[in-house]
Protein backbone atom coordinates (compact mmCIF):
# COMPACT_ATOMS: atom_id res chain seq x y z
CA UNK A 1 0.00 0.00 0.00
CA UNK A 2 1.45 3.38 -1.01
CA UNK A 3 2.04 6.09 1.59
CA UNK A 4 -0.68 8.70 1.69
CA UNK A 5 0.17 12.16 0.35
CA UNK A 6 0.59 14.70 3.11
CA UNK A 7 -1.13 18.08 3.20
CA UNK A 8 -0.08 20.77 5.62
CA UNK A 9 -1.84 24.05 6.36
CA UNK A 10 -0.81 26.92 8.57
CA UNK A 11 -3.64 29.10 9.87
CA UNK A 12 -2.60 32.47 11.26
CA UNK A 13 -5.95 34.30 11.46
CA UNK A 14 -9.05 33.49 13.47
CA UNK A 15 -11.83 35.11 11.48
CA UNK A 16 -14.79 33.11 10.20
CA UNK A 17 -13.61 32.94 6.59
CA UNK A 18 -10.09 31.99 7.62
CA UNK A 19 -11.59 29.28 9.80
CA UNK A 20 -13.76 27.76 7.09
CA UNK A 21 -11.09 27.64 4.39
CA UNK A 22 -8.70 25.16 6.03
CA UNK A 23 -11.62 23.06 7.19
CA UNK A 24 -13.19 22.79 3.75
CA UNK A 25 -9.85 22.05 2.10
CA UNK A 26 -8.62 19.82 4.89
CA UNK A 27 -11.78 17.72 5.18
CA UNK A 28 -11.89 17.32 1.41
CA UNK A 29 -8.23 16.29 1.30
CA UNK A 30 -8.77 13.79 4.12
CA UNK A 31 -11.76 12.38 2.21
CA UNK A 32 -9.41 11.80 -0.71
CA UNK A 33 -7.07 9.79 1.44
CA UNK A 34 -4.53 12.50 2.22
CA UNK A 35 -2.92 12.81 5.60
CA UNK A 36 -3.84 16.32 6.75
CA UNK A 37 -2.01 18.41 9.36
CA UNK A 38 -3.24 21.87 10.36
CA UNK A 39 -1.01 24.15 12.39
CA UNK A 40 -2.69 27.07 14.17
CA UNK A 41 -0.55 30.06 15.01
CA UNK A 42 -1.01 33.67 16.24
CA UNK A 43 -4.62 34.71 15.81
CA UNK A 44 -5.45 31.31 14.37
CA UNK A 45 -5.06 29.89 17.87
CA UNK A 46 -8.45 31.24 18.90
CA UNK A 47 -10.07 28.75 16.54
CA UNK A 48 -8.84 25.95 18.79
CA UNK A 49 -10.42 27.39 21.93
CA UNK A 50 -13.35 25.68 23.58
CA UNK A 51 -16.70 27.18 22.61
CA UNK A 52 -15.33 29.54 19.97
CA UNK A 53 -17.79 31.00 17.45
CA UNK A 54 -15.68 32.65 14.74
CA UNK A 55 -16.92 35.92 13.22
CA UNK A 56 -15.95 37.85 10.11
CA UNK A 57 -13.37 40.55 10.78
CA UNK A 58 -13.86 44.29 11.32
CA UNK A 59 -16.63 45.96 9.34
CA UNK A 60 -17.87 42.60 8.09
CA UNK A 61 -18.51 41.22 11.56
CA UNK A 62 -22.26 41.96 11.57
CA UNK A 63 -22.61 40.08 8.29
CA UNK A 64 -21.40 36.81 9.78
CA UNK A 65 -24.98 35.67 10.40
CA UNK A 66 -25.84 36.35 6.78
CA UNK A 67 -23.01 34.18 5.48
CA UNK A 68 -23.89 31.43 7.93
CA UNK A 69 -27.47 31.42 6.71
CA UNK A 70 -26.31 31.30 3.10
CA UNK A 71 -24.07 28.36 3.92
CA UNK A 72 -26.95 26.56 5.57
CA UNK A 73 -29.01 27.05 2.40
CA UNK A 74 -26.15 25.62 0.32
CA UNK A 75 -25.89 22.74 2.76
CA UNK A 76 -22.34 23.65 3.73
CA UNK A 77 -21.77 22.63 7.34
CA UNK A 78 -21.02 25.37 9.87
CA UNK A 79 -17.80 25.77 11.87
CA UNK A 80 -18.65 23.44 14.75
CA UNK A 81 -19.87 20.71 12.42
CA UNK A 82 -16.79 21.04 10.22
CA UNK A 83 -14.53 20.71 13.26
CA UNK A 84 -16.38 17.53 14.28
CA UNK A 85 -16.08 16.26 10.72
CA UNK A 86 -12.33 17.00 10.76
CA UNK A 87 -12.03 14.91 13.92
CA UNK A 88 -13.93 12.03 12.28
CA UNK A 89 -11.65 12.22 9.25
CA UNK A 90 -8.55 12.14 11.46
CA UNK A 91 -7.35 15.61 10.44
CA UNK A 92 -4.52 16.44 12.83
CA UNK A 93 -4.74 19.77 14.67
CA UNK A 94 -1.76 21.49 16.25
CA UNK A 95 -1.33 24.61 18.38
CA UNK A 96 1.89 26.56 18.03
CA UNK A 97 3.65 26.58 21.40
CA UNK A 98 5.37 29.92 20.73
CA UNK A 99 2.08 31.59 19.84
CA UNK A 100 0.44 30.15 22.92
CA UNK A 101 3.05 31.84 25.08
CA UNK A 102 2.81 35.11 23.09
CA UNK A 103 -0.98 35.26 23.05
CA UNK A 104 -1.31 34.00 26.62
CA UNK A 105 -3.38 30.94 25.73
CA UNK A 106 -3.31 28.07 28.20
CA UNK A 107 -3.63 24.38 27.33
CA UNK A 108 -6.83 24.12 29.38
CA UNK A 109 -8.51 26.65 27.06
CA UNK A 110 -8.04 24.43 24.02
CA UNK A 111 -10.42 21.78 22.72
CA UNK A 112 -9.47 18.11 23.15
CA UNK A 113 -7.35 16.38 20.59
CA UNK A 114 -4.99 19.26 19.85
CA UNK A 115 -1.27 18.59 19.97
CA UNK A 116 1.04 21.41 21.00
CA UNK A 117 4.10 21.76 18.76
CA UNK A 118 6.96 24.12 18.15
CA UNK A 119 8.15 25.36 14.78
CA UNK A 120 10.84 22.69 14.36
CA UNK A 121 8.48 19.80 14.93
CA UNK A 122 6.04 21.40 12.53
CA UNK A 123 8.70 21.90 9.87
CA UNK A 124 9.63 18.27 10.22
CA UNK A 125 6.05 17.38 9.29
CA UNK A 126 5.88 19.97 6.51
CA UNK A 127 9.21 19.18 4.87
CA UNK A 128 7.99 16.20 2.89
CA UNK A 129 4.38 17.20 2.39
CA UNK A 130 2.90 17.37 -1.09
CA UNK A 131 0.64 20.32 -0.42
CA UNK A 132 1.58 23.26 1.77
CA UNK A 133 -0.84 26.10 2.31
CA UNK A 134 -0.78 29.26 4.33
CA UNK A 135 -4.09 30.71 5.41
CA UNK A 136 -3.83 34.16 6.84
Amino acid sequence: MTMADKMVMVVSEGSFDKAMMPLIMGNTAASMGMEVHVFFTFFGLKLLKKGVKPKLNGMMRPFTGMIERKMKKLKIPGFAEMMAQARDLDVKLYACSTSMALMGVGKEELIDGVKILGASAFLDIAADSKVNLFIG
Binding site: N27, T28, A30, S31, M32, G33, K75, I76, P77, L89
Partner: protein, 60 residues
Amino acid sequence: MPIVKLAKMIKEMQSGQVLELFADDIGSKDDVPAWCRRTGNELLGMEEDGATFKFYIKLK
Protein backbone atom coordinates in the same frame (compact mmCIF):
# COMPACT_ATOMS: atom_id res chain seq x y z
CA MET B 1 -19.80 18.91 -0.09
CA PRO B 2 -20.38 15.57 -1.73
CA ILE B 3 -16.81 14.31 -1.41
CA VAL B 4 -16.86 14.20 2.37
CA LYS B 5 -20.20 12.38 2.35
CA LEU B 6 -18.87 10.04 -0.34
CA ALA B 7 -15.84 9.09 1.73
CA LYS B 8 -18.07 8.37 4.69
CA MET B 9 -20.48 6.25 2.62
CA ILE B 10 -17.87 3.96 1.15
CA LYS B 11 -16.60 3.01 4.59
CA GLU B 12 -19.79 0.99 4.97
CA MET B 13 -19.56 -0.62 1.55
CA GLN B 14 -17.67 -3.58 0.20
CA SER B 15 -15.22 -4.08 -2.62
CA GLY B 16 -16.96 -4.55 -5.96
CA GLN B 17 -20.13 -2.73 -4.96
CA VAL B 18 -21.33 0.14 -7.12
CA LEU B 19 -22.37 3.43 -5.57
CA GLU B 20 -24.83 5.76 -7.27
CA LEU B 21 -24.17 9.36 -6.23
CA PHE B 22 -26.45 12.30 -6.98
CA ALA B 23 -25.01 15.77 -6.43
CA ASP B 24 -26.25 19.27 -7.11
CA ASP B 25 -22.87 20.87 -6.40
CA ILE B 26 -21.42 22.09 -9.70
CA GLY B 27 -17.91 21.48 -8.40
CA SER B 28 -18.69 17.78 -8.14
CA LYS B 29 -18.31 17.41 -11.91
CA ASP B 30 -14.56 17.63 -11.42
CA ASP B 31 -14.36 16.70 -7.76
CA VAL B 32 -15.80 13.20 -8.05
CA PRO B 33 -13.52 12.07 -10.92
CA ALA B 34 -10.55 13.55 -9.04
CA TRP B 35 -11.53 11.69 -5.89
CA CYS B 36 -11.80 8.46 -7.87
CA ARG B 37 -8.36 8.99 -9.41
CA ARG B 38 -6.73 9.62 -6.06
CA THR B 39 -8.40 6.82 -4.18
CA GLY B 40 -8.19 4.18 -6.91
CA ASN B 41 -11.94 3.68 -7.19
CA GLU B 42 -13.38 3.34 -10.68
CA LEU B 43 -15.76 5.91 -12.11
CA LEU B 44 -18.03 3.80 -14.31
CA GLY B 45 -19.99 6.71 -15.68
CA MET B 46 -21.41 10.13 -15.18
CA GLU B 47 -24.64 11.82 -16.32
CA GLU B 48 -26.06 15.29 -16.14
CA ASP B 49 -29.79 15.34 -15.43
CA GLY B 50 -30.81 19.00 -15.33
CA ALA B 51 -29.11 20.46 -12.27
CA THR B 52 -28.20 17.06 -10.87
CA PHE B 53 -24.97 15.21 -11.58
CA LYS B 54 -25.19 11.44 -11.35
CA PHE B 55 -22.08 9.35 -10.79
CA TYR B 56 -21.58 5.61 -10.77
CA ILE B 57 -18.56 4.49 -8.78
CA LYS B 58 -17.30 0.95 -8.42
CA LEU B 59 -15.47 0.28 -5.19
CA LYS B 60 -12.03 -1.27 -5.48
